[in-house]
């Protein structure tokens, strides 16, 4: 079991199995994200826009340090969402959601969506670069291929 799968399973419960897709996008300029790291955030969906070339989501998140605020996340293309098992209306404003993200390098809110669980369903995209479609090892993120 990969590290990511372990982390997601721990965070989301043992019954939440990832749909393990062999997919990625090719077109994001995703240099601001740290694909060697994984963080799970939980919150309430404010906006969920599955589009090309990349998906955007606004999630209301809360923590002790910074209180409640809206944070914006990016994700793979609509094509890859659907191929990974996403279906129309799976995620709606007001839904409670858990998202595994590659966080931003600068530590600010936001990140790149790697997997999410909502209403008991999980969709995962695998540990693949959004730029090259190749599998990311912890040290491979800086590759410019």
């Amino acid at each position: 079991m990969s590290n990511i799968l372990k982390k997601v399973a721990v965070t989301m419960g043992a019954s939440a199995l990832l749909t393990w897709g062999t997919i990625a996008t090719a077109h994001h300029s995703a240099a601001q994200f740290d694909f060697s790291q994984r963080v799970t955030i939980e919150g309430i969906v404010k906006k969920w826009n599955v589009v090309n070339p990349h998906t955007s989501a606004i999630i209301e998140i809360t923590d002790e340090k910074r209180g409640t605020r809206d944070a914006e996340y990016e994700g793979h293309s609509a094509s890859h969402f659907y191929r990974a098992g996403y279906t129309r209306d799976m995620v709606k404003p007001g839904d409670k959601i858990a998202i595994l993200i590659a966080p931003r390098h600068d530590g600010e809110d936001g990140g790149f969506i790697q997997a999410f669980t909502v209403n008991g369903k999980t969709v995962g995209f695998g540990n693949l670069s959004p730029e090259t479609g190749r599998r990311l090892d912890s040290s491979a993120e800086s590759s410019s291929e």
């Binding site: 062999t22 997919i23 990625a24 996008t25 090719a26 077109h27 994001h28 300029s29 995703a30 240099a31 601001q32 589009v51 090309n52 070339p53 914006e72 293309s77 609509a78 094509s79 890859h80 659907y82 191929r83 730029e131 090259t132 479609g133 190749r134 410019s144 291929e145």
Partner: protein, 250 residues
């Protein structure tokens, strides 16, 4: 006997049919997906080619800008490497092979046979102009009239490039149908010798999904102007405002 002979001749001369939806072949490892095959350092760049690569790497910067993120096409040959592992569709008629890559519905047309657009009427483009002919079971395509460009790994090709492509069908040891695309880039501006690349595809048991990109910008502009309208403000938002808002998020 005459009929049999005629039938046999017709069968022998019938070209292979590439029609169908294809994806990256998984039966064996292939080279990098987003660039020309092989390590970049081995490409026989001219001095101008090296200058071009260095310049392009500076232009795209540490944020690694790329054309597709701005809804520009990949162009030929880059689209044929199926960047991002999206599928590609081939539609074949006797006089035309149409190839549609899912990303941005990027389309190229290969004209087969005598009916060709005169060279002086060909508009330079990222797909170029593609003229095809059959050599036995191989479709040989000459692509010219390209715009100067780079693939995602910054490998350049100039507007003087001539790409000879070869499309063929085969079957691997497991009985999987394999479409092989081979391209040799002849580009005296950037390369001291021809560069040959190859990708293989296998049938894709799925659908090409609609992939629009530029449309989103239009919707975002309308959304911005709607917000102004609903706020009772002058409706002034422009596409540059959409880009500005996007860049602020980065």
């Amino acid at each position: 006997m005459l009929i049999s002979a005629a039938t046999a001749t017709a069968q022998e001369s019938a070209p292979p049919d590439f029609t169908g939806v294809w994806t990256t072949y998984t039966g064996a490892p292939q080279g990098r997906a987003s660039g020309f095959a092989g390590p970049r350092a081995n490409l026989p760049l001219t001095e101008e080619g090296r200058r071009r690569v260095e310049e392009y790497q500076r232009l795209v910067g540490p944020e690694r800008l790329n054309a597709a993120a701005h809804c520009a096409t990949y162009g030929v040959p880059a689209m044929m490497s199926l960047p991002g592992a999206y599928p590609i569709e081939f539609i074949q008629k006797p006089d035309q092979l149409t190839i549609i890559f899912e990303v941005g519905n990027e389309t190229r047309r290969i004209y087969i046979g005598d009916r060709q657009l005169p060279p002086e009427q060909r508009i330079p483009s990222r797909a170029g102009y593609s003229q095809g002919r059959w050599e036995g079971d191989v479709l040989v395509v000459e692509t010219t009239d390209l715009l100067d460009g780079q693939d995602q790994a910054a490998n350049p090709y100039s507007d003087q490039a001539r790409i000879e492509e070869r499309f063929s069908l085969g079957v691997d040891a497991n009985g999987t149908k394999v479409l092989t695309w081979q391209a040799t880039i002849h580009d005296p501006v950037y390369y001291t010798a021809p560069v040959t690349i190859e990708r293989r595809y296998e049938p894709y048991d799925g659908f090409i999904l609609p992939y629009t990109c530029q449309d989103e910008l239009w919707y975002e502009l309308l959304e911005m102007r709607r917000a102004q309208m609903q706020a009772g403000e002058p409706i002034t938002a422009r596409m540059s405002d959409v880009y500005k808002a996007r860049e602020e998020k980065e």
